[in-house]
């Protein structure tokens, strides 16, 4: 992953942090491939992350969701 982050400006590696209390179940329906990526409001950003999800338009985006403990 680290090597990918060295690619040209068009690519963004974005780690999105979810709440620690999130309970995840196997029955959760995953977003379908090929469907429009749901926009996510950003609460706070670091490391020159864009101010809004819309700024990723036209780019290749790797979204890595992690959680805090």
């Amino acid at each position: 992953m680290a090597s990918l982050s060295c690619r040209p400006m068009v690519m963004r590696l974005l780690s999105v942090l979810a709440a620690a209390t999130l309970v995840v179940t196997a029955a959760t329906a995953q977003v379908a491939k090929g469907s429009p990526a749901p926009a996510i409001p950003f609460v706070k950003t670091w490391n020159d992350a864009p101010a809004s999800f819309d700024e990723f338009a036209g780019k290749v985006v790797i979204l890595k969701f992690s959680e805090t403990w």
Binding site: L4, V16, A19, K33, P36, I40, N47, P50
Partner: protein, 241 residues
């Protein structure tokens, strides 16, 4: 989101782990449409804004990411004036020989506006720079080891740069791929692996077991190939889940 959580992100990800990539804090309800089942989960979004891969998939290879990047418009920044719309459209189509022809013709036009001339000259220099980078990229792709992914990308580059040096370089590499028995074997293995991965839904336990069995057979059959190594890595990953 609490201030405590914000502080944790700052301490753990930014300070301790030294993350250099863009980080975003989000509210858990807002990510519900993604249907996240476990953490960490990776989704890839293509340049059209559509979901390209989900966590149940294998993480797309670097070559696949490169092929997605190839679809990103390379159009450099230019003034918003309408007079540049035809040029903008050519960049968007990704037919770079047409961009070159347009720029050369415009620059040769008598009485060209000095401001437009500056824009066109900058664009032309940018195109040359991109062509050099694309030719270099052809060499990197040709070196493997993901020849299946490289083949897809070289075919796309050949089309995008038709009539310019990167296309000729891409064509030459594709011809070499077709003539080299070892690469042909890699290509065959790469396509076969894609087929195996597409046959099973690894999010279901029963299918995951079947996928592991199929991958074990695949790894034996294609031992010594890059796809074979990938299958072994996939087996280990699937067994961890």
């Amino acid at each position: 989101m609490s201030g405590e959580e914000e502080s944790k992100i700052q301490d753990v990800f930014v300070t301790q782990l030294g993350a250099k990539y863009p980080l975003v804090q989000v509210d858990k309800q807002s990510i519900a449409p993604y249907g996240i089942r476990f953490y960490p989960s990776v989704y890839v979004i293509d340049p059209d804004g559509n979901v390209f891969s989900v966590p149940d998939d294998r993480m797309p290879s670097e070559a696949t990411i490169e092929s997605l990047l190839a679809r990103v418009s390379l159009s450099p920044k230019m003034p918003a004036d309408k007079q540049y719309d035809p040029l903008r459209a050519l960049w968007k189509k990704g037919e770079y020989a047409k961009v070159r022809d347009f720029l050369d013709k415009s620059l040769a036009a008598p009485g060209i506006d000095p401001a437009a001339k500056t824009v066109y000259e900058e664009q032309r220099a940018d195109l040359d720079k991109k062509a050099v980078a694309a030719e270099k990229r052809v060499g990197t792709l040709g070196a493997g080891p993901d020849f299946a992914g490289a083949q897809d990308q070289l075919e796309r580059m050949e089309k995008q740069w038709r009539g310019m040096p990167p296309a000729a370089a891409a064509q030459k590499e594709l011809q070499r791929f077709a003539a080299d028995p070892a690469i042909k074997k890699e290509l065959q293995a790469g396509k076969a692996l894609q087929k195996v991965m597409g046959q099973f839904d690894s999010s279901r336990v029963a299918q995951r077991k079947k996928l592991i069995e199929a991958l074990e057979q695949f790894a034996k059959k294609y031992d010594g190939t890059e796809a074979g190594k990938q299958a072994v890595a996939d087996i280990a990953r699937l067994k961890e889940r």
